[in-house]
Each structure stands twice: as structure tokens, then as C-alpha cells.
């Protein structure tokens, strides 16, 4: 579904990604794991074209994204739930969801998708008139994922959905991700909580200083000695 070939990207003269190649097949959940500053966020940003592609190719369902501007990426069926959630704090939950369904092709589906998101996250229905900025971190994460679903995407990009949340809530967030998977969405998720994320995805890539260092099934990575020593602390 999504394919990256030898992708390089960065910020000005600073290069954050070197020759990254990766693939996400339809129906799969794939994780990109790695330490702070590895370039995980930059990877999702270059897929969304929020940062410029300096080399290589990105294609969604065989269509090149190289010349697609950032604000057209969502129309290609890719929804990006960004790092730190980035809800609009002074809009209500429902207005945030509305923004998720802003694109023309999503508007006629607003009611049905809103009902769907509320069914998936009943808490959001309770809070629908609350300002997003006043909710708890876990609730905000639900809202951010819900906002991502409002455009009816095929592929969901999740950037560290568990970051900054209490351990109990982290568990709930991963349950959420599992539910999203079961709903049939293809997921590319970036995480530092490696042990947890490897339980919900099929495959994973290990990213270090902007380069893919290893890839394989979740099981392979979980059982790899280097990964265990460096990231799981065993």
C-alpha cells in the first residue's frame, strides 16, 4: 500500500533520514521503533510531505507522492495523527473531529463517521462539547485518533500515541490501536514503548540515527538480543 524507496529528508542543511526504504502492505500494522532523535517523527513527516523529500521515492497504492503537496496527502487516503496529538485546544471535541473530515470527499460522510467514532470511543460522545484542550491526555489521544479517522483513510500514521501518558492509560491506548487494526485500517505506528507496540503490530523496522538498522516480524525483533539489550532493558 505504502512504499518508500531510498528516502532522504531533513531540515535545511541537517539530514534526518538517510536512504530509508520501507513498505506497508494493505491490512498490515507496522511499527517503526528507535531511540529519541532517531528520525521516527521525521519519517512520518516526510510521508505527509510536511517536510521536503530530498531524495528517493514515496508511493501510495502505486501513485507517487513525490510531487503531492502536504495538504493533498490526506486525499490520497493517508491520515497522520501527529506527535503530541496537536488537537485544536480551543475547539470542542466535535469541532476537532469536523476538522479531521474537512476535505471535500469527507463532508458527505460526516454524520456517519461521527457516529462511528463515537461508537468506537463513547467517551468522546460524552465530551463532544468540551474544549479539547481541557481533556486528559488519554482522552485527547482518543480525540486525535478519532480526528484521523474522520477522513475515512486507508492508512493511519500514528506518532507515539502512548507518549506522556500514565501506565494504565498507555495500556488503553494500545488496546485502542489493536481495535483500529481489527476495524481493518492499515497502520504505520512510531513508538518508543517497544515491548508494548511489538505486541500489536505484525512487523517492525528499527530506525537509528536516520537509518533502518533492522527489520522483521514483531517476534523476530522481540527475540533479537541486541534489541532486547538496547531497548527493552533485559
Amino acid at each position: 500500500m505504502l512504499e518508500l524507496k531510498n528516502v532522504s529528508a531533513g531540515y535545511g542543511t541537517f539530514q534526518a533520514l538517510f536512504d530509508v526504504s520501507l513498505e506497508v502492505r494493505a491490512g498490515e500494522a507496522v511499527a517503526v521503533i528507535g531511540p529519541n532523535g532517531a528520525g521516527k517523527t521525521s519519517l512520518l513527516r516526510v510521508i505527509s510531505k510536511v517536510i521536503d523529500l530530498n531524495g528517493g521515492e514515496i508511493a501510495m497504492e502505486g501513485v507517487s507522492l513525490n510531487d503531492v503537496p502536504a495538504h493533498k496527502i490526506i486525499e490520497m487516503g493517508i491520515a497522520h495523527v501527529p506527535e503530541h496529538r496537536r488537537l485544536f485546544p480551543r475547539l470542542t471535541v466535535e469541532e476537532n473531529l469536523k476538522m479531521g473530515g474537512f476535505i471535500a470527499s469527507a463532508r458527505s460522510h460526516f454524520d456517519e463517521r461521527l457516529a462511528y467514532v463515537y461508537e468506537l470511543f463513547p467517551r468522546m460522545k460524552e465530551r463532544r462539547h468540551q474544549l479539547a484542550g481541557t481533556m486528559s491526555g488519554g482522552e485527547q489521544q482518543m480525540c486525535a485518533i478519532g480526528r484521523g479517522l474522520m477522513s475515512g483513510p486507508k492508512l493511519l500514521l500514528l506518532d507515539e500515541p502512548s507518549a506522556g501518558l500514565a501506565p494504565v492509560i498507555v495500556q488503553q491506548v494500545f488496546d485502542l490501536v489493536r481495535r483500529i487494526r481489527e476495524e481493518g485500517y492499515t497502520v504505520l505506528i512510531v513508538e518508543q514503548n517497544i515491548q508494548q507496540v511489538l505486541k500489536v503490530v505484525d512487523r517492525a523496522y528499527l530506525l537509528e540515527v536516520g537509518q533502518i538498522k533492522m527489520s522483521g516480524s514483531s517476534r523476530e525483533l522481540l527475540e533479537n538480543d541486541d534489541v532486547r539489550r538496547a531497548y527493552i532493558g533485559l
Partner: protein, 291 residues
């Protein structure tokens, strides 16, 4: 002097102040939405209104265009000017020091004033349209003022509904909270800024429709309304439309009542003094948040 509460002139003054407040509220709206969304102060805002007034005047007086059509054209012209101001002048320097935006829109102010003086001369022009007065008890209320007040309120409510109910309006509010995430929603920030600028211009154009009924047109009329519109916006909390709305009525009553007890100029003096005092007490404005 009579006890004011039984004096019909006192009440007439209060009502005049209220009506003027409605017009000030409308004038502050466009400036506020531009600041709230794009974070730029259009120093030349009142000069856009001046051009709108000339557009309406010439279409109506010289070309015989029916007044409602002339006004519609005035709104469109100023909306386009707003969009052009953003696209050609603000956009290239949007991400530079804020002082640049003040300087450049200040430059546009002098340019437009000079342009109007050369093109239209310093002559005072009047549309010469009168709808008479409405008599209520012992009071006389000019119909144009009442009309201006009603139009202002309708515009305020209309804008509020637009911002609250529509996708575009929601995006305009959203972009003021987080610009960089907008592309992920499928929204091009540049387009929203352009639309917002046209909207701010359109509101200035609507202001022109009302002022052209109430006042003489001349190249420096922006100086009459510009400063007070800024003060209303600042006192309400720059970018805060509800704050601006409240501040408009406070200002207008100060001016009207000052005029009732002394001369109208004293009304302005008192209103400006009040503004300065308020800036010491609440520098962030009535409803503005600190920072």
C-alpha cells in the same frame, strides 16, 4: 441642568451612543479577525474603508448605479483589496519580525491616503442620501443610524454563525490555534489566510457602506476612524471579537455622553483617557488573555 434620567436629551444621547457603538463594533470586527487569525495588524484598515466609501460614492453619484448595488460593489472591491494586501504585501514578510508588518501596512496607509488625495482631491463629498428620523416619544433617532446599528448587529451575528457552523469558519478558528498542523487536515494555510483577508476586507467594505451614509468622504477620513478602531480592538483584547464588541459600546457611550455634558471633542478626550487608564489596569484588554 435637569436630573438626567428624566431628560429626553440624555436618553437620546445614550441611544446615539448605543447606535454608534454598533458601528464601531462592526469596524473592529475585520481588524480583529485579521489579527486573531493571521497575527498581523492592518494599520491601513481604515484606508481600505475610505476606498470603499469612494467606490460607493462614485458608482452611485457619477455612474448612477443603484445604491444597494453600489454598496455590494464597494464590499467586493474592499474584499479584493484585502486579499491583494495579504497576497502581495503581507505574505512575503509573514514570517519575519512583526515590526515589518506594522511598517509595511503603515506605508500602505500613507500610500492610499496620498493616492486618494491625488486621484479624488481633498474635497469633502457627501452621498446626500437621507432617510429622515424616527420619532420615539420626545426623542428623534436618525434612521440611517438605526439602520447602521441593525446592519452591524446582523453582521456580527452572521460572522459568528459563519465561524461556528461552517467548515471554512471552523478552519479559520483552527488555524489561529495551530497553523502547522493544518496541512494534515487537508487544509492549505495560505488559502485560509487569503480567504480570511478577503473576509476582513469585506467587513471593512461593509463598514464603508454604513459610514458613507453617515459622514462626508475625504482622503483623510481614515484618520477619524482608524485610531478609534484600533483602540476598541486593543481595549477588547486584540483578536478577541467579543471583547472588541463590548469595548465598542463602552467607547461609544463615553464619546456620546462626553458630548452631552460638554462638547463632543471632550467625549473623545475622555474616551482616550479611559483607554490609557485601562491599558495600565488591563494591558491585555477586557477579554484578552495575558501574554
Amino acid at each position: 441642568m435637569d436630573f438626567p434620567l428624566t431628560d429626553p436629551f440624555f436618553w437620546e444621547t445614550v441611544i446615539q451612543g448605543l447606535l454608534f457603538g454598533g458601528v464601531l463594533a462592526l469596524l473592529s470586527l475585520g481588524l480583529n479577525i485579521i489579527f486573531g487569525v493571521i497575527d498581523v495588524v492592518w494599520i491601513c484598515y481604515a484606508e481600505l474603508i475610505m476606498l470603499g466609501m469612494y467606490t460607493i460614492y462614485f458608482l452611485y453619484s457619477d455612474y448612477g448605479v443603484p445604491l444597494p448595488l453600489a454598496m455590494l460593489a464597494g464590499i467586493l472591491v474592499v474584499a479584493l483589496l484585502g486579499a491583494a494586501l495579504h497576497y502581495f504585501i503581507i505574505r512575503p514578510i509573514l514570517h519575519t519580525e512583526p515590526i515589518n508588518q506594522l511598517l509595511v501596512t503603515g506605508g500602505v496607509l500613507f500610500f492610499l491616503q496620498g493616492f486618494a488625495t491625488l486621484a479624488f482631491s481633498v474635497e469633502f463629498r457627501n452621498l446626500g442620501v437621507s432617510f429622515g428620523s424616527i420619532e420615539a416619544g420626545d426623542m428623534y433617532i436618525p434612521t440611517t443610524r438605526l439602520l447602521a446599528f441593525i446592519v452591524s448587529l446582523v453582521a456580527v451575528v452572521g460572522l459568528w454563525l459563519f465561524l461556528k457552523r461552517t467548515y471554512l469558519g471552523t478552519a479559520i478558528r483552527a488555524i489561529s490555534q495551530d497553523r502547522d498542523v493544518m496541512p494534515l487536515m487537508g487544509v492549505s494555510p495560505g488559502k485560509i489566510y487569503l480567504v480570511t483577508s478577503a473576509l476582513g476586507g469585506g467587513l471593512a467594505g461593509l463598514g464603508a457602506c454604513l459610514l458613507v451614509l453617515l459622514y462626508d468622504i475625504h482622503p483623510a477620513i481614515g484618520l477619524t476612524f482608524g485610531p478609534i478602531t484600533f483602540m476598541v480592538c486593543v481595549m477588547g483584547g486584540l483578536g478577541n471579537m467579543i471583547g472588541g464588541f463590548i469595548a465598542a459600546f463602552i467607547f461609544a457611550e463615553f464619546i456620546a455622553l462626553g458630548g452631552f455634558y460638554a462638547e463632543i471633542e471632550w467625549g473623545y478626550v475622555i474616551a482616550f483617557a479611559f483607554f490609557i487608564v485601562m491599558m495600565f489596569i488591563r494591558p491585555q484588554g477586557i477579554l484578552g488573555s495575558k501574554s
